[in-house]
């Protein structure tokens, strides 16, 4: 049984937590004093430009760099052969099976290229223009090899993506509830099904499309290599660059200055980062590489790209009896940092908020001749949520039930928490009833259903559909033991340090490095409350491995639920240390010291002292208890014991013009339950941005390749990141069911909107046109696809 309150409840008694504090990090960004990597200039700095393969699969037979080397301003040209001995192989930190196959992945291709855009040579020149000019002068001879672009075709192994591998299959990963002891046999459930829903869904390739193109500056002068780079993961990058390039870790410093968005796309150890280090080391000069947008779209990692074959069995009353998931997951040409594990993050989420008794998940990871896939906002969980939420709508249709009713029939009731799921997780808390009833009310569900009926009856050319999406996700990545059991190469803890300066000002050092989320503001609120100091007196430092030595960085909605807890734990240690000094100063025993709102007082007296006074006394160290180290600074490392499980209900009213196929969002309501909220303004911002990306998958975006392996959507002219006119006004609200897995009760919010909105939109479109015979529409649901689906339904009465 879990308690759920309307927004503002648990935060109410606190001064800072729960308050919509304006951001500390805004001022330099709105005035143009930004510190993005490409803004950096260092003395004698050289500029890199990449020579990239135009072919998706080819042998490199010769490279002639003589003309490029002679070009004005060119200082060096590097090929794969030049750096083969030192470039190592870029890391994959998540071998999902012991026999996982992966090709070697040098930063610069040596003998063979496996996707169009792969780097084959590097120009190092005095100016960016000189470097780019010389790219045209490198003469690379290729022998073209057959390409395999289609995922299902790749699975057949008729054409191999890599000559060095005997198969395109990288790994097969299976979870079966009967084998795991978490449920019964899916095959039995399917054999005995009263209703069986079988569907195949396609998760198109998406591109993270952060607004700041990736940029890296490397300074090799001095005894340490300093790397400024546009990354989400300075700590992981430091370790991985050291391991990959054979540099002692202590000789590498990584700084993530202002980072212009990531969305998983900057959760990577990139070839270009390794190359910039190699070039700087070769030349002895600072080097900079900044990608063009086309390079970013072509050679940065992509996301999604799965074929989902699904079977859902149920009884006629709408009770689901089993779910079988068979995935093909497109790795692209290589395994990036966590490429292979992305589908596995979805494996635990197909059962979503429901009490399915039987579940089986099988995933085949497959290579193709495209840039590799990896984390993109939600990473495995949006795919899972899309599949199950589409299936629940299909089940409702099959049985003639309301889509909300079929969900309610199957979901975990709030009094049933904590709940052990069929996928092997333990959900601590949740209240799907509360979020859904609030969403239904805000949406005017009944009113819109009535209007839908009227429009159907009058054959209105504009049909109305209602899309339902209830979801949960596993956030707060992650308990280290769980990661270990899944063969991930690292833990999931986070580190923080709280320092008390002599003035009483506080420095908070966090290993969780922000790139737009607002950590500086939120962490200040946490610490201001815990230490009883003014919000303004807290400074948050992050994103530099020399300042924040330990950390596992920012992804997977983990910052507050893991990193924030480390901050609180460190603050608590400061209080414990300060109590010792306070007792000494006030000549009382430690047990009699009480701490409230920044003041240390002696129980039962009016004697008190402040943290500031204690800080100064500690700094001076003239009169401290014997053996007390003159320092209040404290470190803490937090390793979560469980994931957190945000959830919510999203409802979309979709209008479909049946004459043109044009789709528009009439109304979008989401009620998210992300637990206790530190800053509602930041939370709402995360929800808005998440919704935009989820809606973009449903309606606008797809990375399209031609048969030869060229990315057709290679610029923002063709890759349609939605603009302001393409997106609706979102109606957002929250319920608050605190998590029990952390002391604050927070659950994480970074990915929620993206996960929930895609199925809401597509379910809404189908709900508008299903009665016209349309059974499915592939994403993105462009006007052309919707129109063709309607035409096909009219002429054949069948599927698109």
């Amino acid at each position: 049984m879990t308690a759920t309150t309307e927004v503002g409840g648990p935060g109410a008694g606190r001064a800072e937590v729960g308050k919509a504090r304006l951001r500390k990090e805004d001022r330099h960004l709105i005035t143009g004093r930004s510190r993005f990597t490409d803004n950096m200039v260092l003395p004698g700095m050289l500029h890199l430009a990449m020579v990239r393969s135009p072919y998706a699969h080819a042998k490199i037979t010769a490279i002639d760099v003589s003309a490029a080397k002679a070009s004005p301003g060119v200082m060096a040209v590097l090929t794969g052969a030049d750096v083969a001995a030192e470039q190592g192989s870029l890391p994959n930190a998540w071998p999902i099976t012991p026999d996982q196959k992966a090709p070697a992945h040098g930063a610069i291709a040596v003998e063979e290229v496996a996707f169009a855009g792969e780097v084959v040579a590097v120009i190092v020149a005095r100016t960016p223009a000189a470097a780019r000019d010389a790219v045209e002068l490198v003469d690379v001879s290729y022998d073209e090899l057959p390409v395999v672009m289609d995922l299902e075709e790749a699975f057949t192994d008729k054409v191999l993506a890599h000559s060095s591998l005997e198969s395109n299959k990288s790994a097969t990963w299976v979870f079966d509830s009967a084998e795991a002891g978490t449920g019964s046999s899916v095959q039995e459930a399917i054999d005995n099904a009263e209703v069986l829903i079988e569907r195949t869904f396609y998760q198109q390739r998406l591109i993270p499309a952060f607004m700041e193109p990736r940029s890296t500056v490397v300074d090799p002068t001095g005894e340490q290599i300093t790397v400024w780079t546009s990354t989400q993961i300075p700590h992981i990058l430091r370790l991985m660059l050291a391991l990959t390039l054979g540099i002692p870790e202590s000789k590498v410093r990584v700084i993530a200055p202002d980072v212009g968005g990531g969305f998983g796309g900057k959760l990577q150890v990139t070839p270009e980062e390794a190359i910039t280090v190699l070039a700087a080391r070769r030349t002895g000069k600072p080097c900079k590489y900044t990608e063009t947008r086309s390079e970013s779209l072509q050679a940065g990692h992509h996301g999604r790209a799965q074929v989902q074959r699904l079977k859902l069995s149920a009884t006629r009353d709408g009770t689901v009896t089993g779910l079988s998931v068979n995935l093909l997951a497109d790795m692209g040409a290589y395994l990036g940092l966590v490429t292979s594990g992305i589908p596995i993050l979805g494996a635990f989420m197909y059962n979503s908020i429901y009490k399915f008794p039987a579940y089986r998940f099988e995933c085949n990871n497959v290579f193709t001749n495209k840039t590799w896939t990896d984390a993109y906002r939600g990473a495995g969980r949006p795919e899972a949520t899309f599949a199950i939420e589409r299936l629940m709508d299909e089940l409702a249709t099959e049985l003639g039930m309301d889509p909300l009713a079929v969900r309610e029939k199957n979901w975990i009731r709030h009094e049933e928490f904590p709940f052990a799921t069929v996928a092997g997780l333990e959900y601590d808390t949740g209240n799907y009833e509360a979020a859904t009833s609030k969403a239904v009310e805000l949406f005017d569900y009944q009113g819109l259903r009535a209007e839908q009926k009227r429009r159907r009856e009058s054959n209105d050319p504009i049909q109305l559909g209602i899309g339902v999406s209830t979801f949960t996700e596993m956030c707060g990545l992650a308990p280290s033991r769980v990661l270990g059991s899944l063969s991930y190469g690292a833990g999931g803890w986070e580190h923080a340090q709280v320092r008390v300066l002599p003035t009483g000002n506080i420095e908070v050092v966090t290993g969780s490095s922000a790139h737009g989320q607002g950590h500086e503001t939120a962490w200040s609120q946490l610490v201001a409350d815990r230490l009883g100091v003014p919000f303004e007196n807290v400074e948050v430092l992050h994103g530099d491995t020399q300042i924040s030595q330990r950390g596992l960085d920012t992804y997977g909605s983990r910052s507050l639920t893991v990193g924030g807890m480390a901050v609180l734990a460190a603050a608590d240690k400061v209080i414990e240390k300060a109590k010792v000094v306070a007792a000494h100063m006030m000549e009382a025993s430690e047990e009699d010291i009480e701490f409230t709102a920044g003041s240390f007082s002696v129980k039962g007296t009016d004697t008190s002292t402040s943290l500031g006074e204690i800080a100064l006394a500690t700094f001076a160290a003239h009169n401290l208890p014997d053996g007390f180290e003159p320092n209040l600074d404290s470190d803490a490392t937090f390793d979560p014991v469980n994931f957190s499980y945000p959830h919510g209900t999203h409802l979309a009213a979709m209008e479909v013009d049946t004459e043109t196929g044009r789709v528009s969002i009439r109304k979008y309501v989401c009620v998210d339950d992300v637990g206790v909220v530190v800053n509602p303004m930041l939370v709402e911002g995360q929800v808005h941005g998440g919704l935009a990306q989820g809606i973009a998958q449903a309606l606008y975006e797809e990375a399209v390749y031609d048969d030869a392996g060229t990315l057709v959507t290679g610029s923002f002219v063709d890759y349609l990141v939605p603009g302001a006119p393409d997106l609706p006004h979102y109606i957002t609200a929250r319920t608050e069911t605190p998590a029990t897995s952390n002391q604050l009760g927070a659950k994480g919010v970074g990915e929620a909107g993206t996960i929930a909105s895609t199925p809401a939109i597509v379910n809404g479109i189908l709900d508008a046109v299903r009665h016209l015979g349309v059974k499915d529409i592939k994403m993105p649901c462009t006007p052309s696809r919707v129109w063709h689906a309607l035409q096909a339904a009219q002429t054949t009465g069948g599927v698109q």
Binding site: D26, S34, M211
Partner: protein, 176 residues
């Protein structure tokens, strides 16, 4: 390499005279020659608008203009928007309405919004969205950007409580 040309451009109220290659883009001139790194490059194809500046008071995408074309003109960048240490109303509104997250689109978004409000001082929500069509943001989903522009058009004067009231207002407004 082609021969250089001498240009004189007034940028953020300072006059600069420089020899530039004819192919040098205005945004490169601003960033690489003048150190005006507040203006950013996001796409190279005139789609994202991160590089938006004003040329004689009208918004232009500085990645789609040559530096030589700015010869004799007055350019305003995001760095010239605040005066005497006071933020321009749009800058203050973006802060108050949480209209930025990573901040990369923000300079261009503010410059375009300023141009939009000059053309149409009292736009409705749809007119704001249409007016920002050429500026992409990947973080905010646009709602708070639209709210920020609208608040300036509506003449909202923000206090300095350090706490946003606009978010709750927006939630309430959405509910009703």
């Amino acid at each position: 390499m082609a021969s250089s040309k001498t240009i004189t451009v007034e940028v953020d109220d300072v006059s600069y005279t420089d020899d530039v290659e004819p192919r040098l883009l205005l945004v490169q001139y601003l960033r690489e020659r003048l150190g005006k790194t507040g203006t950013l490059i996001g796409c190279d194809t005139t789609n994202c608008g991160a590089c938006t500046v004003h040329l004689d008071g009208v918004s232009v995408k500085s990645c789609t203009m040559l530096a030589v074309q700015a010869d004799g003109h007055k350019v305003t960048t995001i760095e010239g928007m605040a005066t005497d240490g006071l933020l321009a109303p749009l800058q203050e509104a973006f802060h108050q309405c949480h209209a930025l997250q990573c901040g990369f689109c923000t300079p261009g978004m503010i410059m375009q919004s300023a141009s939009l409000l000059t053309e149409n001082p009292h736009p409705n929500e749809q007119e704001i969205r249409d007016g920002l069509e050429g500026n992409l943001c990947r973080c905010t989903g646009y709602q708070n950007i639209v709210a920020a522009v609208k608040s300036v058009a509506d003449g909202t004067v923000y206090g300095d409580s350090g706490v946003s009231t606009t978010v709750d207002d927006a939630e309430t407004a959405g509910v009703s």
